[in-house]
Amino acid sequence: MRFGVVVFPASNCDMDTYHVVDQVLGHPVSYIWHREQSLDGFDCVVLPGGFAYGDYLRAGAIARFAPIVEALPAFAERGGLVLGICNGFQVLLEAGLLPGAMRRNDSLQFRCRDVLLRVENAHTPFTNRYRMGEVIRMPIAHGEGNYYADPETLEQLEGEGRIVFRYCSAAGEILPAANPNGAIGNIAGVCSRRGNILGLMPHPERCYESILGNTDGLGVWQSILHWWGAAREQEAVRNV
């Protein structure tokens, strides 16, 4: 399975993301410069965290016009996987590949801490290794993670099971106290209708090794591999 990590000017979690895929998963991975126009040959494209274009104007607002982002819709249409982490999620929202918008944290401060997430949908290519309702821990580090979608959009997302992660308490309850940034409905991550595009604010590429004190993020990467492997199997079966 071939991974690509997009690099915008001032992405800064690209190296961390590359490291997980390369060193921990042991799969082929390359950096994709934002000016590239083709995503041929890739199976999963990651838009990493960071401050693309300094987050100037709005986080992700300028990055969404990068040629490589313009190539994403066709890539996703073909069935490719797109994972937007933190700043990457913001880019996907600005590009309209996921619905909603990101605002400044309600505290008006940057927040770096661990949060607890409840897995709301364990059937996506990114979450199939988790159990439905499982409570996992992941680090966040953002100043604009306050997710917003209008009531209509929210209803649609809920109805279609496209809310993938919510901030929760240790007991798995969706409570205001568990919400680090004011996001509506404690939403931490959403996916596309087809499920092959996921955006989430927390960082699964920062919690995959025990030396870092937390391996809950491994599930996202293992889910991707598992989904891809299963898809190849199905294909092989069909071709027999």
Binding site: L57, R58, A61, I62, F65, L93, E94, G100, A101, R103, R104, N105, D106, S107, L108, N146, Y148, A149, D150, G182
Partner: protein, 89 residues
């Protein structure tokens, strides 16, 4: 060859009505504690000034509208208004 005039566009980008504005809330709190009790509400937005060349005012306004729709404002949560003036040489 067409003449290009210089225009200045003054653009106001604001959060849509009904969108929670934590920054506005914080500013209002600050004003309250400074003794300005009469302030009912504060909304914080962005003000941009663009200097652009265009053959005429209509095209300048058209360009600015496009720029707002595509980049300068996020239509999910923001509204915008603008005024275009010719810059006297």
């Amino acid at each position: 060859m067409g003449v290009i005039d210089v225009f200045e566009a003054r653009i106001y980008v604001t959060l849509k009505k009904g969108i929670l504005d934590p920054q506005g809330k914080a500013v209002k709190g600050g004003l309250d504690s400074m003794g300005y009790q009469g302030v009912a509400d504060v909304r914080v937005g962005k003000f941009l000034v663009l200097t652009l060349g265009s053959p005429d005012r209509r095209q300048a306004e058209q360009s600015v509208r496009e720029m707002c729709d595509r980049l300068l404002a996020n239509p999910v949560i923001e509204d915008y208004t603008f005024e275009v003036q010719e810059v006297s040489s």
